[in-house]
């Protein structure tokens, strides 16, 4: 039977290369694949394009990436309160594409679902509409938001089974399921791995078809 379990975070980030586009799940401190974030820095890659809701709040999260200066550009909805990022941003050493949160996750979904983006009512008549194609549908204006895809997606789940089905924990779910669909290689850091068949097939949030590697975070 399919088995996507890898030993540790280091094995989980194998193949990540300079210049790759990477999605990282999480909202605030919920849903962050902390062991992976560390392993990416240790892998020594650089010039990453990062797609993520936030830009780091505490020292052991995405802050690590900005301290290590491995991000060339971030596509993000709310990079405020992110000290290490802000420092680089002020110096012009990192590029920012600011995207409304709902637009961000829906662009990711569009990437994962094979659509050419989506016509959004959000941002019409604001700075967020600049340079975007306007579509008129049913008497209303929409702006065409383009799909997002990545080379790697790194998210945090609660449980995974050995074939790669994943559940999440409360509000740690956030952008993770959409991101899991939109990358060439999707890696999930979980609290615990269980045998295939142990997860309720009705309650699996990310089916294994989207998942390439899972590993259990070592207990603190």
């Amino acid at each position: 039977m399919r088995n996507v379990v890898v030993e540790d975070a280091r094995a989980a980030v194998q193949g990540l290369k300079d210049g790759h586009t990477v999605m990282v799940g999480g909202f605030g401190n919920a849903g962050l694949p902390l062991a992976i974030l560390k392993a990416v820095v240790e892998a020594g890659v650089r010039d990453l394009t990062l797609i993520s809701n936030n830009a780091g709040t505490v020292e052991d999260d995405l802050t690590l990436w900005f301290r290590a200066k491995i991000v060339r550009k971030i596509i993000c909805s709310y990079p405020r309160g992110a000290k290490a990022f802000t420092e680089l941003y002020r110096k012009g050493e990192v590029e920012l594409e600011l995207v409304p949160q709902g637009t961000l996750v829906e662009r990711i979904r569009a990437g994962g679902a094979g659509m050419g983006g989506f016509p959004s009512p959000v941002g019409v008549g604001t700075d967020f509409a600049k340079g975007k194609q306007v579509l008129h549908v049913g008497g209303r204006d929409y702006i065409l938001e383009l799909p997002l895809k990545a080379d790697f997606t790194f998210v945090k789940g609660k449980l995974a089974d050995t074939v790669g089905n994943v559940t999440y924990n409360m509000t740690a779910r956030n952008h993770c399921p959409a991101m899991a669909t939109a990358a060439e290689t999707t890696v999930v850091e979980v609290d615990r791995i269980v045998a295939a068949g142990e997860l309720d097939p009705e309650a699996i949030v990310t089916p294994c078809i989207f998942v390439d590697r899972v590993f259990a975070r070592a207990k603190a």
């Binding site: 919920a30 909805s77 967020f128 952008h175």
Partner: protein
């Protein structure tokens, strides 16, 4: 000038919410409105990071950082609550399924434009937008809760927003620390004024013309409004 405190302002908004429906309380000050909902309310609170029926903040020792609201504050889950991913959460917002969103703002214009994501003056700091814009466009009814003026005394209710817009023509009601103002097709209508102030006092610190309501109401220092 006399003003309502932040808690009293939150209480005033809470008292105006209907007894049922789906409500999103924006991050920052509006979140506090939740503390003043009547215990028997049928209102269900939504938070855009993927939870419906947000309950009160837990005691410190019960905080779980996987259970937070959009303001990244620990919460509890009310009975009958549900978790879901961001695509469904924003479908609720963009799709018009929320009855009311209460948002903070830097400025609101007389036609209901809202500016609440940046003043345009960044001092080099990165801007943030989050989910405020999705709420402003998507919820059926948009209320704003804010101080009536800036710290320097400049009006926040204006003829035309000078700050970058979040959304155009969406706000229907503005709750401030000295007044309640309705945005109507005929312009701004002054619905209630803080006890001790006159409509002229409020107009003096407002950047757009206020019409008096047929029956002006009075805001008591507690945040209760009486006819």
């Amino acid at each position: 000038m006399k003003t309502l405190g932040r808690s009293e302002l939150a209480r005033m908004v809470a008292l105006h919410l209907p007894r049922q429906g789906f409500v999103n309380l924006g991050i920052g000050a509006p979140t506090e409105i939740g503390d003043y909902l009547p215990p028997d309310t049928d209102v269900m609170l939504h938070s855009e990071n993927g939870v419906l029926n947000v309950g009160p903040r837990p005691p410190k020792e019960a905080e779980d950082w996987d259970l937070i609201n959009a303001g990244k504050i620990p919460i509890t889950l009310g009975t009958g609550g549900a978790f879901f991913d961001s695509t469904l959460s924003f479908a609720m917002m963009r799709g018009g399924h929320l009855d009311i969103a209460v948002l903070g703002a830097f400025q609101v214009s007389e036609r209901g434009d809202i500016a609440n994501w940046t003043t345009g003056e960044s001092n080099g700091a990165p801007p943030g937008i989050g989910g405020a814009i999705d709420l402003a466009v998507g919820a059926r009814t948009i209320w704003v809760m804010m101080d009536h003026t800036t710290k320097e005394g400049a009006p926040r209710i204006v003829r035309t927003c000078t700050f970058p817009l979040t959304a155009a023509k969406v706000v229907s009601r503005i709750f401030t620390n000295i007044a309640i103002v309705d945005v109507t097709p005929k312009g701004l209508v002054l619905d209630a004024v803080l006890d001790g102030l006159t409509p002229a006092d409020v107009q003096a610190v407002t950047g757009a013309e206020l019409q008096p309501a047929k029956k002006l109401r009075k805001i008591q220092p507690s945040g209760t409004v009486v006819s």
